[in-house]
Subunit: 97 residues, 3 copies
């Protein structure tokens, strides 16, 4: 079964809010790993930053990934360091998704 794996890498302080957002948009699960890194930030703190980040993975239908991405764009892109990328995966336990 083809599904979309959406990966969000962002600031650890957003964890609770993002989990709520993800559930609201219909994702049935998520996985969070702690991460560190550098990248460009939102407009309020331009330049590079190195700090505690989180890496959130969501396996979901493509339409759910799109909705989550649009929501994040509207609510977080301006003020937070956030990377989003997605690709197709073959889910091998289809009865659970």
């Amino acid at each position: 079964m083809q599904r979309t794996l959406l990966t969000i890498i962002t600031e650890a302080s957003l964890e609770r809010r993002l989990i709520a957002d993800i559930k609201t948009h219909g994702a049935h699960g998520y996985t969070i790993t702690e991460a560190q890194g550098e990248g460009s930030r939102g407009v309020r703190q331009p330049g590079f930053e190195k700090a505690g980040n989180i890496r959130i993975e969501i396996v979901c239908e493509a339409s759910v990934a799109t909705q989550i991405a649009l929501w994040l764009k509207e609510h977080y892109y301006r003020d937070y360091a956030m990377i989003l990328f997605s690709h197709e995966v073959e889910v091998l336990r289809p009865d659970k998704f």
Copy 2:
């Protein structure tokens, strides 16, 4: 060189058993990261759960990924929270696989 990246996200308590299973089925290596998350569980504990999970990645031939997936389905799906997904990757260090 094309290979399959198989990702297993499951309960941390299974780590030792899964490592043994993976080796038995012909994988030459694996990577484990600690994770947290929520998702649907096995039939004995339905509903959502949030606890220490592990994320296991295995780069292997497609046939090995299939054999591992079948084994996990037979031995763990019923009783454990376990997500499996896979996709193709280009392995850039072919002499090591």
Copy 3:
């Protein structure tokens, strides 16, 4: 926007050197997660090893991924445990890459 996600799994002791290498070759960011695992090593320490590893992810243009891979091959493959693989991702925040 299509980009390449390059994943490097290697020994934690290389973290600082690799971050410098990555930036030199034009990557705009990276994400590091701590990992454990087993796999084949460089020629000086053949066989399996289980120790603290890092997992570095870089979202970049395909040409940057190729350059980084070539550099790592030349400078680290011989002496360090290092796995490299890549695949295409759809980057959902294009203005940041």
